[in-house]
């Protein structure tokens, strides 16, 4: 299944290319242990929490890059 910001964090973590994209936009995505607590959230849902500090523009940019993975 194609990955997007509507994929769950754990699905994004499992794909090395997607994880690299996420790490670039959201430093700590691959290494922060807290990410394991939120892995059942979609990235879009995670981005809604103020602590995530992800703007709508960033979310769109991430979605575009994930779509390019096919």
């Amino acid at each position: 299944m194609a990955l997007s910001v509507d994929s769950k964090v754990k699905e994004l973590m499992k794909n090395p290319q997607a994880a690299d994209i996420m790490e670039r936009y959201s430093p700590g995505f691959k290494t922060d242990k807290q990410m394991k607590l939120v892995q059942a959230l979609t990235f879009r849902a995670l981005a809604k929490f103020p602590q995530a500090n992800i703007s709508d523009e960033t979310l769109d940019a991430i979605d575009k890059e994930l779509a390019e993975l096919g």
Binding site: D32, K33, Q34, K36, L37, V38, A40, L41, F49, Q51
Partner: protein, 401 residues
């Protein structure tokens, strides 16, 4: 004096058959159900990692890290404000005990603070809803306390105390007892994760059995009052445990336990087997079904081979756990309960647990086999949709497990 106009109002959960489960009983039941899920999860852990020390250290590390990283300076400042901690109190590790004591009382871990001073803190517990899980969890809570003490330490990074859970209900002791003593005052070494069940430096005060309590302050008094006089109500604490009880006792250890499996598939396979077994055993005794019927107020018109027994039981569980749900079908052929995966798995919205769906489906599917009969099954539909349906119905499957 004229008659009252109407009956007084009390909070409670109404079962499908109109029996009222009072708020206090519902709260205690919800706590024990969270504990039961945690106990099943720990069985999964024991299969995946046979070495006691390795698995205990793994969950301790995770629980510590999660507690530390969830707490910012802003959080800590609001904590001092929330608990009305006076400015003249030295901000060092001993104040971390406020976290521990409040958490205990929110979760009906009934007991008392024996000593609360800068150099030494002693807390004694007479009950613990999680006392069925096993001592790995007792150890894990000491890791969480370590985080509390670290956060409250002078530099917010490393605590000044030696921490010992020298008694634990989960180990068969009469009490749980947690003692934190300043290392510099009592000349004590820094501890590793598995060093926290030792003997404190100074003698403890043991409350005799006849003065022990069975319920926490919230059930005895309706409020919890901390050392500085701040209060929380039962209603507030019930909501807190319905979220956070799952986080500390299921989400935290799950992070480590998933990593103990060779693959996600292996984790899920063992997880389902353990929860299935627990479900089958829950109602193996015929008197257990009788007890449940009485508790839910099931009328005799509902006979032994009726799926509504299971449906009514599940609905009450959801209600006591404060999970929004809707009974969309309830007849002799089928029960259908609508929930949202977002709230069913996301008791704490920031940390949903997909394993709640996996676990409860395995648990209830097997539970209905002994509660009602093997003709009946329980399965979930729409797990990836906005609405999920918990269904109790008759099903034939030649490979049924």
């Amino acid at each position: 004096m004229p008659l009252k106009d109407k009956l007084d109002m009390y909070k409670g959960v109404e079962t499908v058959w109109g029996k009222i489960i009072p708020e206090k009983e519902a709260y205690k039941y919800a706590l024990r159900q969270i504990s039961s899920f945690c106990a099943n999860l720990f069985q999964v852990m024991r299969i995946l990692e046979p070495d006691y020390e390795k698995r205990t250290e793994a969950i301790c590390e995770i629980a510590y890290d999660m507690n530390m990283s969830a707490s910012s300076e802003e959080y800590l400042n609001s904590y001092y404000d929330e608990w009305n901690i006076p400015e003249f109190c030295e901000r060092s590790s001993w104040l971390g005990a406020i976290f521990g004591d409040s958490g205990d009382e929110y979760e009906n871990m009934a007991g008392r603070v024996i000593q609360f001073t800068r150099d030494r803190v002693e807390k004694e517990l007479d009950t613990c809803p999680w006392d069925i899980v096993g001592s790995e969890l007792c150890n894990m809570t000491t890791a969480m306390f370590t985080a509390n003490f670290d956060l409250c330490s002078v530099n917010n990074t490393e605590n000044e105390v030696s921490l010992n859970m020298c008694e634990a209900r989960g180990c068969g002791d009469m009490h749980c007892r947690v003692v934190a003593e300043r290392r510099d005052v009592f000349n004590l070494p820094k501890q590793g994760w598995l060093d926290h069940m030792g003997t404190p430096a100074r003698e403890c005060h043991v409350t005799p059995r006849e003065r022990m309590v069975k319920e926490g302050q919230l059930l005895r008094n309706g409020v919890y009052s901390n050392a500085f006089g701040e209060e929380k109500t039962l209603e507030w604490a019930y909501r807190w445990v319905a979220e956070k009880g799952w986080v500390w006792s299921v989400s935290f250890p799950l992070v480590a336990i998933r990593d103990m499996a060779s693959s996600d598939e292996e984790f899920e396979r063992i997880f389902k087997i353990v929860f299935s077994t627990a479900g089958k055993n829950a109602f193996i005794d015929p008197f257990a079904v009788e007890g449940m019927r009485s508790w839910l107020g099931v009328p005799r018109e509902i006979d032994d081979n009726d799926g509504r027994l299971m449906g009514g039981y599940i609905k009450t569980q959801l209600d006591t756990q404060l999970v929004p749900n809707e009974l969309v079908r309830f007849d002799a052929d089928e029960v259908r309960i609508k929930v949202q995966p977002e709230s069913f798995n996301g008791r704490f919205p920031m940390a949903p647990i997909d394993e709640l769906t996996t676990g409860f489906e395995a648990l209830w599917h097997n539970m209905v086999k002994t509660m009602v009969s093997p003709e009946w099954s329980c399965w979930f539909e729409g797990k990836d949709d906005d609405d999920m349906f918990i269904i109790v119905g008759k099903k034939i499957d030649k490979k049924m497990i």
